[in-house]
Symmetry: C2
Subunit: 392 residues, 2 copies
């Protein structure tokens, strides 16, 4: 772990130097974990020759979890300038900060504490690094994928007509948690909430919500308008389960489809179409291929199969991606989306999720999380992909 | 619901006028839900004579969920000034914004869009309003408390020696979700994550973490260093279950204690002490009594009983509150804490949670969520409070 963490820090230093950022203050807990190995409450101060782990709570635990040597306890942000000056001899003037997530209130306090400081956005640099996973990170994601396999194996065992979506979601969450899943899925950004959410049956699969995704779901209430709901699951409905799992903070994202009794042929055909779209996108994907090109390929196959009205949501509300990077957060770069004309690189991990939405009827689709290798994509989510029709 | 929502909006307008805030832009999803009834992606623009619900996704759902009449779709923040000017005739110059949660990046975009605007912090005004609950809100919290009762009833049925904390947490989550719990607990603030987390057995109960709470727990990994862990539950250990539940977004917070086989007498005595502390704080609490005074009373009883070394965490890391407001978020005002010398008011809801931590051994404690009434506190969390010793 020590080598892993110091390798990430060295890579960030290179990028900071290239961007003219003298020192970084890393506050966001996921970035902090990535760069230090601990998620205790505090921040990382990083300049070309110092890495100080400043921890408010709980310093002994941070010391134990992180390979960084200097863990400095503090109780108020006011102490930061003195702590930094005390260890580095000076205060930085061009400071990197995660502008996409640090709130204005905290920013203003930092401006007061570093009055000579100019602040630049640090998040793009960190997110750029995080795109390509190390073998250790891939191993964690494989463990997450293995938890997903157990979750999907459980579905036919517990799926019963008349149970609510929330109850089915709870039963799957129990399997995931018993195998180490952290309950939570992490999504970067203000107002972003995620969980292992999309257990959607019949019309629920066609209910849109606040999130930019082909389906939203009713959710438990307007106060949580996404994912599984109190709706009871009936026969012959498409049951789409988009269930993220995690291990050691690393996430895998996966979708499979089920029904109680036979699914109407039209929806079966649509499900087969999503598998064909996925297969063709996967066949094209390898290092050097543009993410936008993969997005276009998905649409080309969709049009050829005649599903453009249903693909990735209803007309007017279509999601503008067919895949997304994934790792410690579920919305990391790269994005397999229009306008994202940059190449796939070896070591990237992406979730590809072609889906079809039929208003009033529901949604079907497939999703795997893949590692980009020299020879193409390798799936990290091993659950069988076939539609499973459970006897009523 | 319409009356409820418009009452909140009117109250916020009064406070905005008193603070010299001309118009508010409400972005945070919980505040947005409180003021509009919907949590779809967007914002509320509010001035003395207009309330515009600007929704990016999904406008028809926002229209259905909210009693506000003007739901205006937009696709980019750039459209905001024109949309606002188009409906109000002008752009505001003193603008309220939730400074504790709105990120710098979004703030800078808003500064660009409202170049003549001065921004003031809106959050204290909204949080002040949210402290006192309406009868409808109390009814939602009672439903959450009722879900909690079912969760705690389940514990003796499923608790087995050798099961992991995560597995027990999953089994309880299943009960909660089957009754409408939204899986998630909401905590306000940057880097704040909460869930129905504290299923802590034996030494886990004494593991501190990033959160300012008497106990943290190991969690599934350093990437989620809080709450239930893969640790197996053994005999004669204190099992502390601090399991928040929610209904329609409203939360109840509650703690009960269990053991497999007999709990050592010393820990039983400590548990009884927490009940005595709770009872004495509750006896003193009524409208007009200072929150700080309640905090002090908790400590007075603790000292009288001789538990000051264990109360609210180990020496040097003691949590500085014994209770907190609760509602749509789990860390709302008022705070029953040192320095919070303001009175309890009728309609406030608070969770009181005296707890004891024994390093290496674990934690015991009790917690209920209460409504402040003219006659004192009324519990909204009806699960029986006695320690339950399950046969091995």
């Amino acid at each position: 772990m020590k080598e892993e963490i110091f390798g990430r820090i060295a890579a960030l230093r290179d990028r900071m130097e290239a961007e003219g950022i003298e020192a970084a203050l890393v506050f966001q807990k996921v970035d902090l974990f990535y760069l230090t190995g601990t998620m205790q409450d505090g921040l990382l101060y990083l300049d070309p020759s110092h890495e100080l782990l400043l921890i408010r709570r709980h310093p002994p635990r941070a010391q134990e979890e992180s390979p960084l040597e200097l863990v400095l306890p503090y109780s108020s942000l006011k102490e930061l300038p003195d702590l930094i000056r005390g260890h580095t001899g000076r205060l930085p003037e061009v400071i990197g900060l995660e502008m996409d997530v640090v709130p204005v209130g905290l920013f203003r306090r930092l401006q007061g504490l570093f009055p000579a400081g100019t602040f630049k956005d640090l998040s793009p640099l960190i997110l750029h690094l995080r795109r390509r996973k190390s073998p250790w990170e891939v191993a964690m994601m494989e463990r997450a994928g293995e938890i997903g396999r157990r979750v999907y194996e459980e579905v036919p065992r517990v799926l019963r007509e008349g149970m609510t979506e929330l109850e089915l979601a709870g039963k799957l969450l129990l399997v995931a948690m018993a195998h180490g899943h952290q309950e939570y899925i992490r999504m970067r950004g203000f107002n972003a909430e995620a969980h292992s959410w999309h257990v959607l049956s019949g019309p629920s699969g066609a209910v849109l919500s606040s999130i930019d995704a082909p389906m939203g779901g009713l959710g438990p209430s307007p106060a949580y308008p996404m994912g599984a709901s109190p709706k009871r699951i009936g026969r012959h409905e498409p049951i789409l389960i988009d269930f993220g799992t995690s291990y050691w903070g690393y996430q895998a994202d996966e979708t499979r489809c089920f029904s109680i009794g036979r699914l109407p042929q039209r929806l079966k055909d649509a499900f087969s179409a999503t598998r064909e779209i996925l297969a063709e996108v996967v066949a094209l994907a390898r290092p050097g291929v543009s993410c936008q090109r993969l997005f276009e390929r998905g649409w080309e196959v969709t049009r050829r199969l005649g599903y453009e009205n249903y693909f990735m949501g209803p007309e007017g509300y279509k999601t503008r991606f067919i895949g997304h990077g994934i790792g410690l957060e579920i919305n990391e770069p790269p994005f397999i989306a229009e306008g994202h004309d940059y190449p796939l690189e070896e070591g990237m991990t992406v979730a590809l999720e072609p889906k079809m939405v039929f208003p009033g009827e529901g949604a079907v689709g497939i999703e795997n999380t893949y590692l980009v290798t020299q020879r193409g994509l390798r799936s990290l989510t091993p659950a069988p992909e076939d539609l499973i029709e459970v006897s009523p």
